[in-house]
């Protein structure tokens, strides 16, 4: 979606290696989870494999592997496509290349802001910020801001609501 010319801020590039690791772990587990039982069956109960069609089952872990590699190739672009924009009235979060998604949260609607940091995220110096609005809706979680920037954004978000309201009233 356009808006390409608007001054969106990008997230930290260190999110790329972090996501690569997460992706490798996630798909790795999935891959082994499919592969190991197959190997066990093949070598422990070889009867099943007399039918050569059974070998087709290996397509499953192979597919997962390919899928994981495809995702790994997309990750750098995905991270570069993530951005946020502090508008006059709202914060806009943007993400996705194929499936694009933009969330606009008016500053005054923010109930509270959380900043999370797991061990791996800490190692890469990034955080995950999540913005909660009323009615049990987490408007958006957004990964990849350094702690300092996340705290600045949070303060900005919570203060802006009121500054903007006062400004509107005076005008």
């Amino acid at each position: 979606m356009d808006h390409e010319n608007l001054p969106y801020r990008r997230v930290s590039p260190r999110l790329i290696p972090l996501r690569q690791i997460n992706n490798a772990i996630g798909f790795g587990i999935f891959f082994l989870f499919l592969l190991i039982p197959l190997l066990i069956v093949q070598f422990v109960a070889p009867l099943f494999f007399t039918n050569s069609a059974a070998y087709l089952l290996y397509l499953l872990p192979a597919g997962v592997l390919v899928w994981g590699i495809v995702v790994a190739c997309i990750i750098p672009r995905q991270v570069r496509a993530m951005g946020y924009l502090e508008n006059r009235d709202d914060l806009v979060l943007r993400r996705g290349i194929l499936f694009r998604n933009q969330v606009a949260v008016p500053y005054g609607r923010i109930q509270y802001v959380d900043i999370h940091q797991g061990p791996l995220q800490r190692a890469f110096g990034v955080t995950q910020i999540s913005i909660t609005t009323a009615g049990g809706g987490t408007a958006s979680t957004f990964e990849g801001l350094p702690m300092v920037e996340a705290e600045r954004l949070r303060d900005e978000l919570t203060q802006r609501g009121f500054a903007r309201l006062a400004e509107l009233a005076e005008a």
């Binding site: 979606m1 356009d2 009235d89 606009a104 949260v105 005054g108 609005t133 009615g135």
Partner: protein, 165 residues
């Protein structure tokens, strides 16, 4: 709902939404038929033959009917679907057979989400969803520029009318 006032001017969504949704529907049909039909054929092949094997095809048949009916309804749904930005709220009309009208006061909106998939981008379509503290309303198939404009306007108007929750 004949009783709904006619004087309200609803802005229509893009006509290309029909094309997009038909393609989407067709793809979904093919995938589902392959999965469910394939499963039925496979089970039938592996098990003992009998009249009951016909039952295996019920899910596939249901999916086929569902998608075919949808194919006929989609053009009407798209024609009906539209929105009207009023002074204090936005009205959304949807549903070909089961008509639905939603009114969301600007001051109630919590956040706006704009989404666009690859196929939608080809037809310049974007979906806008408006979330309040207790509900969600969607407008599907706006031109991208219009969706962004609506998002900004909704935010700004919501801001100006902000109160309480």
């Amino acid at each position: 709902m004949k009783d709904f006032p006619h004087h309200l001017q609803f802005r229509p969504v893009r006509r290309q939404l029909t094309t997009y949704r038909q393609i989407h529907n067709a793809i979904s049909l093919v995938i589902n038929i392959v999965i469910f039909g394939g499963a039925a054929v496979l089970t039938g092949y592996l098990s003992e033959p009998g009249w009951w094997q016909l039952l295996l095809y019920i899910p596939a048949a249901w999916i086929l009917i569902h998608h075919v009916v949808k194919m006929f309804i989609i053009p009407r749904q798209v024609r009906i679907h539209g929105w009207a930005e009023q002074a204090d709220d936005i009205l959304i009309r949807s549903g070909a057979i089961f008509r639905k009208y939603q009114a969301v006061p600007y001051g109630r909106l919590q956040f706006v989400v704009v989404t666009q998939g690859p196929l939608q981008r080809k037809y310049d379509l974007a979906d806008v969803s408006i979330t309040t503290a207790g509900s969600k309303a969607e407008i599907l198939g706006l031109p991208t520029i219009e969706a962004t404009r609506l998002r900004d306007d909704l935010s700004a108007r919501g801001y100006a009318r902000l109160a309480g929750l």
